[in-house]
């Protein structure tokens, strides 16, 4: 695997997500606000450009956006994220 600037999987940006959530996040599940389907974060689609956008694998609605700035992450989440305790 060699990630580049196009659509990959949530799994492909798992390193960055783990930095933010301080836990393995790709097995967490998300219920989409838009279509109601539930999928693991690792099965979402990841699009990278200036930042990273995660999209629902079923309907394409935005699940999250993340930007890595020098001193902070800027993060937005949508839908219900279910993280195992």
């Amino acid at each position: 695997m060699d990630t580049s600037e196009v659509h990959i999987d949530g799994n492909g940006v798992a390193g960055m997500l783990q930095q933010i959530f301080v836990t393995e996040i790709t097995t967490a599940r998300r219920v989409c606000d838009s279509c109601g389907e539930e999928h693991p974060i690792g099965a979402h689609r990841a699009y990278s450009g200036a930042g990273t956008v995660l999209r629902c694998p079923a309907c394409g609605d935005v699940a999250a956006f993340v930007s890595e700035l020098p001193n902070e992450y800027v993060l937005g989440l949508r839908g219900a994220w279910r993280l195992r305790r």
């Binding site: 695997m1 060699d2 196009v6 999987d9 390193g15």
Partner: protein
């Protein structure tokens, strides 16, 4: 396996560099305090230029959790920022930063008796090889089948090792571009429903399916698998970009 909560960058030292195909090399790495990994996980690799410019890519771990060193197989992408350095310039003794292991979604740990179907496009076979090596190292009885799509026979990674695998592992290769060599008994052409049916196992036995490769390959394979009746939730995918990035 307990994962360290926060990933930290570690300095990896290249112990050995092995030629796999004309375009791919395997780096055997020593990583101090490596916490161990699960088959299917990956690492992030970060290179820093003298002027401070950093480039980062993700690479699947190809070695089994049982192996004594961490192995990454790198395919050279001609205009890449990271892979040409790793395949052409880095030599044993050189060091670079990596963090991991990463990911829990695209993982096979051998704890289930369900059959597994592994579908690889090109160098997408690397994390699947970690699964097959884990399967072998643990003496697993799980029915495991690999369908590997490669441009030509010369592009097949781990060819000798794959040839040596025996039941309950079955390996199938399809050659998509060059004419097949004389006496070729494998498949030819792009992955198809008929090919997946011939490889099996059938959807009724509910195998776990792992598909890894360039994004268009994974999209097509996943679509065919679901059409054949595999439950979408059992089809795990790992896309790595347009052609391999």
């Amino acid at each position: 396996m307990a994962q360290p909560p926060r990933l930290s960058w570690r300095l990896a030292t290249i112990r050995e560099r092995r030629n796999e195909t004309p375009r791919a090399k395997t780096l055997v790495l020593e990583v101090p305090d490596w916490p161990g990994h699960l088959a299917g996980q990956h690492v992030d690799v970060r290179l820093t230029a003298e002027d401070g410019y950093q480039a980062q890519r993700s690479y699947s771990i190809a070695s089994a959790p049982e192996d004594d060193a961490l192995e990454l197989t790198i395919e050279r992408i001609d205009d890449g920022e990271v892979s040409p350095y790793l395949t052409d310039e880095a030599v044993p003794g050189d060091q670079f930063e990596l963090r991991g292991p990463i990911g829990g979604y695209f993982v096979w740990d051998g704890s289930s008796n369900a059959p597994i179907l592994l579908v690889a496009g090109g160098s997408g076979v690397a994390p699947l090889m970690a699964m097959l090596r884990h399967h072998r190292a643990t003496g697993s009885k799980v029915d495991a089948r690999l369908l590997l799509s490669a441009r030509s026979l010369d592009d097949v990674l781990y060819r000798e090792e794959l040839d040596a695998l025996d039941r309950p592992v079955r390996v199938h290769v399809t050659l998509t571009r060059d004419p097949a060599p004389d006496g070729w008994r494998g498949f030819t052409g792009r992955i198809s429903e008929n090919m997946l049916t011939a490889v099996g196992p059938e959807p009724a036995v509910a195998p776990y399916v792992y598909v890894c490769g360039p994004t268009p390959f994974v999209e097509e394979a996943a679509r065919l698998l679901v059409e054949l009746g595999h439950e979408p939730a059992r089809v795990h995918t790992e896309r790595f970009g347009p052609t391999g990035g």
